[in-house]
C-alpha cells in the first residue's frame, strides 16, 4: 500500500514537472516569435519548413477529406431519402466537415505525419549533439529550430484544413449527385444557405490551435528525448499520442466556446 502510494505520488510529481517544463518551453518559443520576425536570415528558415510541413502533407490531407465526405454521404443518404430530405444532403456533409471533421482529421493526420517527422528530426539532432553544437556556436536552438517549425504548423494547418473541407464537400457531392441522383442544384443551394462564414471561421480557428499544439508538442518531445534510437522512437510515439489527445480535448473546449459565442450573438438557428 505504502509503495503503491509512493509510486503514484512520484508519477504524479513527474507528470506535473513535465507539464511545467512543456509550458516553460512553449513560453520561450512564443517569446521568441516577435524578435525572430525582425531577422531576415531567420525568416528565410520558414520557407523550407512550410514546404516540408504544408506542401508535402497536401495529398494525404486531401485524400482524408475526400474519403470522409464519401463515407458521410453513404452513411446519411438512405436515411435522408427515406425521410424525403435527400436534397439537404449537402447541409449534413458540409457542416460536419467544415465545423468538425475537417479540422480534427486534418489535425490528426498532421500530428502523425508532421509531428512524428518533427520529433524524429529534432530528437536525432538532440542525441547526436547537434542541439549542443548550436548552443556552442552562441545560437539559440529554440529560435533557429523551433520557431520556424511552430510558425509553419500554425500557418499551414488552417490552410490544409480548408483543402480537406473542399475535398470533403466534393466527396459528399460525388455520392449524393452522380450516384444517388440528388439534384445538383439542391446540393449546392442548400449547402450555401446552411454554411455560414462563422462555420468556416470556427473550423479554421480550431486548426490554428491544433497546428500550434502539433508544433509545440512535437518540438518539445524532440528536444527532451532520451538517448539512442529507442529514445527517439519513444519520443515520436509519445509526441503523436499527446498531440492526438490534445487535439480531441482542445476540440471539445473550443467547440463549447464557439457555440456559446454564436448563441449569445445570433441565437439558436435550425439548419433544416
Amino acid at each position: 500500500m505504502v509503495s503503491w502510494l509512493t509510486n503514484t505520488g512520484a508519477l504524479a510529481s513527474d507528470l506535473i514537472a513535465a507539464f511545467g517544463r512543456f509550458w516553460a518551453f512553449s513560453g520561450r518559443t512564443l517569446g521568441r516569435v516577435l524578435p525572430w520576425m525582425t531577422r531576415r536570415r531567420d525568416v528565410q528558415r520558414l520557407w523550407p519548413q512550410c514546404h516540408a510541413i504544408g506542401t508535402t502533407s497536401l495529398p494525404v490531407v486531401m485524400i482524408t477529406g475526400f474519403f470522409v465526405g464519401l463515407v458521410l454521404a453513404i452513411q446519411a443518404i438512405e436515411q435522408l431519402m427515406a425521410s424525403g430530405l435527400a436534397d439537404r444532403m449537402g447541409v449534413i456533409v458540409s457542416l460536419s466537415v467544415v465545423r468538425e471533421l475537417g479540422p480534427v482529421l486534418a489535425g490528426v493526420m498532421l500530428a502523425g505525419r508532421v509531428g512524428g517527422a518533427l520529433t524524429a528530426e529534432l530528437g536525432t539532432m538532440n542525441v547526436t549533439e547537434q542541439l549542443d553544437a548550436l548552443r556552442s556556436m552562441g545560437s539559440d536552438p529554440i529560435r533557429v529550430l523551433v520557431v520556424p517549425r511552430f510558425l509553419a504548423c500554425v500557418l499551414l494547418t488552417p490552410l490544409l484544413t480548408l483543402y480537406c473541407d473542399v475535398l470533403g464537400v466534393f466527396g459528399g457531392w460525388l455520392i449524393s449527385v452522380p450516384v444517388f441522383g440528388v439534384s445538383n442544384w439542391a446540393y449546392w443551394n442548400y449547402t450555401s444557405n446552411a454554411l455560414e462564414m462563422w462555420d468556416i471561421f470556427c473550423g479554421v480557428s480550431k486548426a490554428v490551435f491544433f497546428g500550434a499544439a502539433i508544433g509545440l508538442i512535437s518540438c518539445y518531445k524532440g528536444f527532451n528525448c532520451r538517448q539512442g534510437a529507442e529514445g527517439v522512437g519513444r519520443a515520436c510515439t509519445e509526441g503523436f499520442v499527446t498531440g492526438f489527445i490534445s487535439i480531441l480535448v482542445m476540440d471539445f473546449f473550443i467547440t463549447m466556446a464557439q457555440k456559446g459565442v454564436y448563441v449569445s450573438i445570433w441565437g439558436f438557428k435550425t439548419v433544416f
Binding site: R41, E129, Q130, D132, A133, S136, G138
Partner: protein
C-alpha cells in the same frame, strides 16, 4: 608579466552531479593562453562534462568558472552568447547538421553572428576547408563524408569565427591510426598558425603525448595527476601507470 594574465579559463572548486551520480567533485583548473592542455581519464569520468562547463553548456552545482577573468557560471543563455563566440567546440560525434552541406555547416556561425556578405562567407568557408585539408568539398553532405572527414569539417566549423579557445572532445575516437594522426597534426597546426588555446579530452594516449603541452588526469571527479607528457611516461603513480599502459585491474576484468 603576471602569471594570471596568461590564464584564459579558470575553474574553481567545481562540483557537478547528475541525480545520484557525482561527476565532478571539486575540480580546480587554470588554462594558459596559447597552450594545449590534454585531459585524460577513463570513459565516464566526466571529461566531456568538464569542458562543457567551460563554455556554459552545463552549469556547475557549485564552484566558479572564469573566462578572461569574467565569471560566467551564473550568466543567462543570452549573456553567454558573447562568451561562446570565444570558443570553438569539436564534438565527439562531429555534430554536423545533417540537413546542410559542408559549406553551409561552416557558414552557419558566420551567418548567425556577422554581417559578412555571401562572397565573404564563401571565402572564409574555402579558407577554413583548406586549413583542414578538404578544399573544394563545400557542396558535399555530411553523410557523404568519412568519419575523419566529418571531424575535419567539424573542426573547420569550430574555427570559423576564429575562436581564442578550441575544445576538442575525443577528437581521435573512432578513427584509424592514420586518420587520428591527421587530426593530431591539425591540432598542432592550429596552435601554431592561429595561436589558439586548446583543451583536448581523450583517452588516446598516443594523441595525448603528441599534442599536449600539459596533461591532467581526471579520476573519480578530481584531477589526480598533472605534468608534461614525459612526466606521465615516467609516472610511478599506479592509477596513472595503469591508464597510460592500458592495464585493467582484476576487479575490472
Amino acid at each position: 608579466m603576471n602569471e594570471n594574465h596568461d590564464i584564459i579559463v579558470e575553474l574553481r572548486n567545481v562540483h557537478k552531479r547528475f541525480g545520484p551520480l557525482k561527476v565532478l567533485q571539486g575540480v580546480d583548473l587554470k588554462l594558459q593562453r596559447g597552450r594545449t592542455t590534454v585531459v585524460i581519464g577513463e570513459s565516464g569520468t566526466g571529461k566531456s562534462v568538464l569542458i562543457k562547463h567551460m563554455m556554459g553548456l552545463l552549469r556547475p552545482d557549485s564552484g566558479e568558472i572564469y573566462v578572461e577573468s569574467e565569471r560566467i557560471d551564473h550568466l543567462r543563455e543570452k549573456e553567454l552568447v558573447k562568451v561562446r563566440q570565444r570558443f570553438g567546440y569539436l564534438f565527439q560525434m562531429s555534430a554536423l547538421f545533417d540537413s546542410m552541406t559542408t559549406g553551409q555547416n561552416i557558414a552557419f556561425p558566420l551567418l548567425e553572428h556577422t554581417d559578412y556578405n555571401d562572397r565573404e562567407i564563401e571565402r572564409i568557408v574555402a579558407e577554413k576547408l583548406e586549413l583542414v585539408g578538404l578544399n573544394g568539398s563545400q557542396d558535399k553532405m555530411p553523410a557523404e563524408l568519412s568519419g575523419g572527414q566529418r571531424k575535419r569539417v567539424a573542426l573547420a566549423r569550430a574555427i570559423a569565427m576564429n575562436p581564442q579557445i578550441v575544445l576538442y572532445d575525443e577528437p581521435t575516437t573512432g578513427l584509424d591510426p592514420i586518420r587520428a594522426d591527421t587530426i593530431n597534426d591539425l591540432i598542432i597546426k592550429l596552435k601554431h598558425e592561429i595561436k589558439v588555446t586548446s583543451v583536448v579530452v581523450t583517452h588516446d594516449m598516443a594523441s595525448a603525448f603528441k599534442v599536449a603541452d600539459r596533461i591532467l588526469m581526471l579520476h573519480e571527479g578530481k584531477f589526480i595527476a598533472e605534468g608534461a607528457a614525459e612526466d606521465f611516461r615516467r609516472s610511478t603513480e599506479p592509477r596513472v601507470r595503469r591508464f597510460v599502459n592500458g592495464q585493467s585491474t582484476p576487479d575490472e576484468a
